[in-house]
């Protein structure tokens, strides 16, 4: 069989996938770009060309800056916490103790729980009048009075991050655990013989094995956290006083609530660009760690 024929056959086999992808991703993306230069409404007027008006309007609005900061905080803190908690849990699960298999099995539960159910569950837990968190903390005498966890800008974002972390750190833990189990025993043993302390053993012996998989998890989680919509929509809708409004929610408001498809599209593309820059930077980082870990 000739190489050309093999390549042609490969393209033929790819064709259905590529055709569908062009239809549901390629075309919409191109059309979003077109819309972003118009003042189109969601329903009704097709809109006129307005140049970069939408972009300048969105980029200079205080809403955008604020929302960008909020989203960045959310993504940075929740992903960092997920990584740290995930690795710690994986190190624990890599120890030998009774019930380890059961505990490892439980780790899949939060991850499998649908995001909306998770958000609803935590909203009930945080309820200021009848929530379990208030009840537990008061009964343990850790706080004197019931609090409004989702109603205070100081705690609302933190409360969201906790809910997000709870669902996602087990996934990191499972990935890290699988990597840990690939560390050859004789290497750790050798390090022990050389007199390396626990920290040094982790840093120089174990971490190189973890770095690759963790980097991938880090990239995926960061991208997801940056796109966050569901959990915030269900728990706070962006409140109080817009202190938990994410970029995706801002786009939803602009494009669908206010029906300004044009400026909504430009905002969506700005978000896309930010995520892309982030992903490319990360990809470079992954390559570097993969190189140094090998």
């Amino acid at each position: 069989m000739s190489g050309t024929w093999i390549t042609a056959r490969a393209w033929l086999l790819m064709l259905p996938l590529l055709a569908i992808m062009v239809a549901v991703i390629g075309w919409p993306l191109v059309d979003t770009v077109r819309l972003s230069f118009t003042d189109a409404q969601l329903v009704g007027t097709a809109g006129n060309y307005v140049g970069f008006d939408n972009y300048t309007k969105m980029l200079t609005s205080s809403n955008f800056t604020r929302t960008l900061i909020t989203t960045t905080w959310f993504a940075a803190i929740s992903v960092a916490a997920e990584m740290v908690l995930g690795v710690l849990a994986a190190l624990l699960l890599n120890q030998e103790f009774r019930g380890r298999a059961v505990l490892r099995g439980l780790m899949i539960l939060p991850w499998a729980l649908p995001t909306v159910v998770n958000a609803t569950l935590w909203r009930l837990i945080y309820n200021p009048e009848y929530g379990a968190l208030n009840a537990a903390l008061t009964q343990l005498h850790l706080i004197d009075d019931y609090r409004s966890w989702l109603g205070e800008p100081g705690t609302a974002l933190a409360a969201l991050i906790v809910a997000d972390c709870w669902k996602n750190f087990p996934l990191v833990a499972l990935i890290a655990l699988a990597a840990l189990q690939a560390v050859p025993r004789d290497i750790t043993a050798a390090a022990l013989v050389d007199g390396a302390g626990p920290f040094n053993r982790f840093r120089f012996v174990i971490l190189p094995y973890l770095a690759g998989p963790l980097m991938v998890a880090l990239v995926l989680r960061t991208i997801e956290a940056f796109k966050v919509f569901d959990i915030i929509w269900v728990m706070t809708r962006g409140g109080p006083a817009n202190s938990t409004r994410s970029l995706s929610i801002l786009v939803y408001q602009e494009a669908f609530s206010f029906q300004r498809a044009g400026s909504g599209a430009s905002l969506a593309l700005i978000v896309t660009l930010l995520v892309t820059v982030l992903a490319v930077a990360y990809a470079a980082l992954v390559k570097k760690t993969a190189g140094s870990a090998a």
Partner: protein, 412 residues
């Protein structure tokens, strides 16, 4: 084998696709309602059942969404060929819906009997630019509810007549240790907060707009927000109010955790139902108070109407359904959670029986209903106001600055 599996699977996908546009011999209407204040879901379902019994050739699919989703759902469904036929709409949306051709103009369908029989205040709910975009269905405003038992224990003889007095009475209740925070409001970042604010704007004689430009940042509009902030800071208002919607307020009031609460009509009979509520039989209701020298009572127009969407293919059947749902007979029968739009119903013993106190409050409150601004850009204005209210409550800005910024961001 793979081929045959593949074919079966593909077949399944396509058959699945074909299943969707169901072909009914009869007419099927899709109606959108809300799962919040006013008529309960059960009420709407049994009203609809009565309608389909009387019109066996029409089937009605009911859809309930939270109030927060009602506007977006209505607008988004415009794009679907088989969208809703009948939608519930809030008093603040006809301007936008008319401008964007979401609802059809039904002026020609409104009969003289309707015009004469329905309260004039209710008609403002469905009108824009002199045209009718539906029938009013829920005639509603926010009342001041109070817990009779708590007031009695505090030695308070009569519920407050002014907002100032409300604060004084709440202080007494707090000082006597009856409740830590006696007043509950719905000040979540949502339309609910704007409704409470509008009630106060009406009390302080403020204006939302003057010559089409924002004016809420001055005079009564500013005093209204200042009152909210003072009440919040004084500790008399339940601090959780800033994340409450109407349902949370009801829950707190029904649990006996609030002496005063601002809420819609529906709370009266729900809070008086011993099955759900711990305060049944102790529920008092009066019109929202006024401001000495400015107003006797205050009220927000929180009415809602039923309209036909422009994409409906069954506009005649849809109107038939609306006529039935808004008819005096139907409304009199279900007058516990929402009061009729028909003037003569208020003297009908079948309607007033067992809720004389509510009817008395309604007569004053409904007459004082104050509108939120009529503009196609209402959603944007409201979003700006919600932010201003929350930022001032949280002490992030002063009411003056917050409202000034809201005026700039209102899109007007």
């Amino acid at each position: 084998m793979l081929k045959s599996i593949g074919k079966t699977l593909l077949g399944a996908v396509f058959v699945g696709g074909l299943f969707v546009p169901n072909a009914f011999a009869e007419t099927t209407l899709n109606a959108l309602f809300m799962a919040q204040a006013a008529y309960s879901e059960a009420d709407v379902r049994s009203m609809t059942e009565a309608f389909t019994k009387a019109n066996p050739d029409i089937k009605v699919n009911l859809e309930f969404v939270p109030y927060e989703g009602l506007h977006d759902k209505t607008v988004l469904a415009q794009g679907s060929g088989g969208g809703y036929d009948v939608v519930l709409f809030d008093v603040i949306w006809p301007a936008e819906y008319a401008t964007n051709k979401v609802l059809v103009d039904v002026s020609s369908k409104i009969t003289d009997d309707m015009k004469k029989g329905v309260l004039p205040g209710a008609w403002t709910t469905v009108q824009y630019d002199g045209k009718y975009y539906g029938m009013p269905w829920i005639l509603d405003t926010k009342y001041l509810f109070y817990n009779k038992e708590i007031l009695e224990k505090a030695g308070i003889k009569a519920p407050p007549k002014t907002w100032e007095e409300l604060g004084q009475q709440a202080k007494i209740i707090q000082d006597k240790g009856l409740l830590k925070t006696p007043i509950a409001w719905s000040w979540s970042q949502a339309e609910a907060a704007v409704c409470d604010y509008t009630t106060l704007v009406s009390a302080y004689g403020g204006d939302f707009l003057k010559d089409g430009k924002p004016d809420f940042q001055n005079g009564g509009g500013l005093s209204a927000l200042k009152y909210m902030v003072d009440s919040y800071k004084s500790g008399l208002t339940n601090p959780n109010s800033k994340e409450f919607l109407e349902e949370d307020v009801r829950k707190v009031f029904e649990n006996g955790d609030a002496a005063f609460a601002l809420n819609w009509t529906y709370m009266y009979n729900m809070a008086n139902d011993p099955k759900d509520s711990k305060v049944a039989g102790k529920v008092g209701v009066v019109p929202a108070p006024g401001v000495a020298g400015t107003s006797e009572v205050s009220a927000v127009n929180g009415s809602m109407g039923l309209g036909i969407t422009a994409v409906s293919k069954h506009q005649d059947e849809a109107w038939k359904y609306i006529e039935f749902m808004t008819s005096q007979a139907t409304q009199n029968q279900y007058a516990k959670l929402s009061l009729p739009i028909w003037a003569s119903s208020y003297d009908n013993p079948a309607v007033t029986k067992g809720q004389e106190e509510l009817i008395a409050a309604a007569k004053l409150g409904l007459a004082a209903m104050y509108p939120r601004p009529t503009t196609p850009k209402y959603q944007q204005l409201s979003t700006a106001l919600q932010q201003a209210i929350q930022e001032s409550l949280l002490g992030q800005t002063t009411p003056e600055d917050a409202l000034k910024i809201a005026a700039e961001n209102s899109g007007l």
